[in-house]
């Protein structure tokens, strides 16, 4: 191991270095291997989070000298009606997106869960396609489809004898329209994870249930759904995090409007920072937002560990 000590001092430095290296590499290699990733995370994630915590105690517009205000930003937050409005919008958005995209994803997965279904690969590709495309592209396209006068959806509604709907230009409908678009995008993702989860449902089990006279409905509620529980819990967490953190689509489709009707927390934070230029206040909102997400995730994790391990 330490044979380099016996070597004479006249050995070239590189030889000594090599010996030292071969003796210690096993201990050092793991740290060297994780170093680049760790460095990037430190620079672009951990340091910014600490910086944001610090900044949230200041009033600062990015140009003037920062003014220390203690917890004033956090106090202001609790009296800011637009913060509460954004929080409510985020919750509504999640409450629409999570169950709808999961239920429809599960339905699609159940339908596709038979290898010999004619056209199965095509169906799967078509259902999944919107998920692959950027939110900028899907959002721009959805904006075109949901247009008031020239949008194809309103034209179809008129042709079928219905009234036009002001999908994106009315305060009542805008958030619902964004939810519909998100469900279109997320459905395929949930379908894919459910399809993988369905592999865990043994055919023999269903076969014997069938022989015992269980209807498809009974098979679904009493065999398939319980066996899918771990998948469902995982998807609930992933979808909640996704829908809370959604930004691109809302920014592209409505940028929070009309009024504040689609201002979700992410859009609120972005505008507070880069439009209003209140960096300290925006940081405070961001940190409170992060705490909310962590709380929900941890709660969910606890529940899921009681219900079934992931």
């Amino acid at each position: 191991m330490n044979d380099y000590r016996q070597r004479s001092p006249s050995w070239p430095a590189s030889g000594r270095w090599q010996a030292w290296w071969s003796a210690h590499q096993k201990a050092l290699i793991p740290y060297l291997f994780i170093a680049p990733t760790l460095a990037i995370f430190t620079l672009f994630v951990f340091a910014p989070i600490l910086y944001a915590s610090f900044m949230s105690l200041f009033e600062w517009n990015g140009i003037s000298t920062p003014k220390f205000t203690g917890i004033d930003n956090y106090l202001e937050l609790f009296n800011d009606p637009i913060f509460w409005r954004s929080l409510r919008n985020t919750l509504y958005y999640g409450a629409g997106v999570v169950p709808l995209s999961m239920a429809l994803g599960l339905l699609a997965a159940l339908g596709l869960n038979w290898k010999n279904l004619p056209g199965r690969a095509i169906f799967r590709t078509v259902y999944f396609l919107p998920f692959v495309i950027s939110a900028v592209a899907t959002g721009t396209t959805a904006g075109w489809l949901f247009g008031d006068s020239f949008g194809i959806i309103n034209k179809l509604l008129l042709a079928l004898g219905f009234e036009k709907v002001r999908w994106l230009s009315s305060r009542e409908m805008a958030l619902i329209t964004v939810v519909i678009t998100t469900v279109w995008i997320r459905l395929g993702f949930n379908m894919l994870i459910y399809l993988a989860g369905l592999q865990a449902v043994p055919n023999e089990l269903l076969e014997s249930a069938r022989l015992d006279g269980a209807t498809p409905r009974q098979q679904f509620w009493h065999i398939v759904l319980p066996l899918l529980k771990p998948t469902t819990f995982l998807l609930i967490i992933l979808n909640i995090i996704y829908s809370f953190e959604a930004f691109d689509l809302v920014f592209i489709m409505t940028n929070g409007g009309p009024g504040y009707s689609t201002t979700v927390l992410t859009v609120f934070i972005y505008n507070m920072a880069f439009q209003t230029q209140r960096f300290g206040y925006a940081s405070a909102i961001g940190l409170v937002f992060m705490a909310i997400i962590m709380l929900i995730t941890l709660l969910q994790w606890r529940f899921s560990n009681e219900g079934g391990r992931i």
């Binding site: 339908g111 279904l117 004619p118 692959v132 950027s134 721009t140 396209t141 008129l158 498809p216 920072a273």
Partner: protein, 291 residues
Amino acid sequence: MADTQKSLISWRNGIFRGRGRPRLASVLIWLALFIGAVIMFFPIYWMLATTVMPREEAYSRDLLLFPKTLVFDNYVNGWTQSPWLRWYGNTLLIVGVSVFGLTIFSLLAGFAFAKYTFRGRNFFFLLILSTLMIPLQVLLIPRFLLVAKFDWVNTYWSVIGPHMADSFGLFFVRQFMLDMPDELLEAARIDGAGELTIFRRIVLPLSKPAIAVLIILGVTARWNAFAWPLVALTKKDMYTVQLGINFMKGYYATDFPAIISMVALSIIPIVVVFLVFQRYFIQGITRTGIK
């Protein structure tokens, strides 16, 4: 035809077959899936149809489900209104370099977390994994200020840097490496191979499937990235394709067919990658549940 018949029959004998009228039920399920697929595909169809319509048709009040005349003016208008060549070049450079870094760094770190025991292993791993819960919006401001301090605003590095690592890549590679047999590595060590040689000669060649997944999902996520580039790249010359579309939306809002044409162009690379490498795509997503 016979094949379809056969598969329909075996399908109806399959999973949710109850008693009653199985054939009808399976046809109904197929029909429901078909209608679902039509609805799911319609927006993409309409996007493509709009790009080849004359503007008068796109902006007519009548219901037209197909273009009456085929034109390519929208593509020409969209392309010539803005420096798209430059924007595509920017995007290719940013995506290429950051995915190259992501792949190498994730392989190294994933291997270390899976196959070595060292102090702080679980701590570092959980620390990185927990960043999944951090919303990007919290990071945008301090990251922007940091990048500004380095004078990196409006440089490629401002976007490449943070995109060279992500928790998904690390998590995925670690899962993959955990399945790699230890005996293989031990045998090489007994033969006197150093750790770097082992990584290069044994681990890398065995990791080809993981590398494919990393590259494909990495390229997709970075090609589609929007929020951080929006903050870091403010000069028109430095825009990526996604920022370009966003810019056009603001400036040429009255010429939607031109904008939609550029949207259609922008999704081609990703759709091609997805269709060609669908297998890896699905594998990557179902293994980790994370995009």
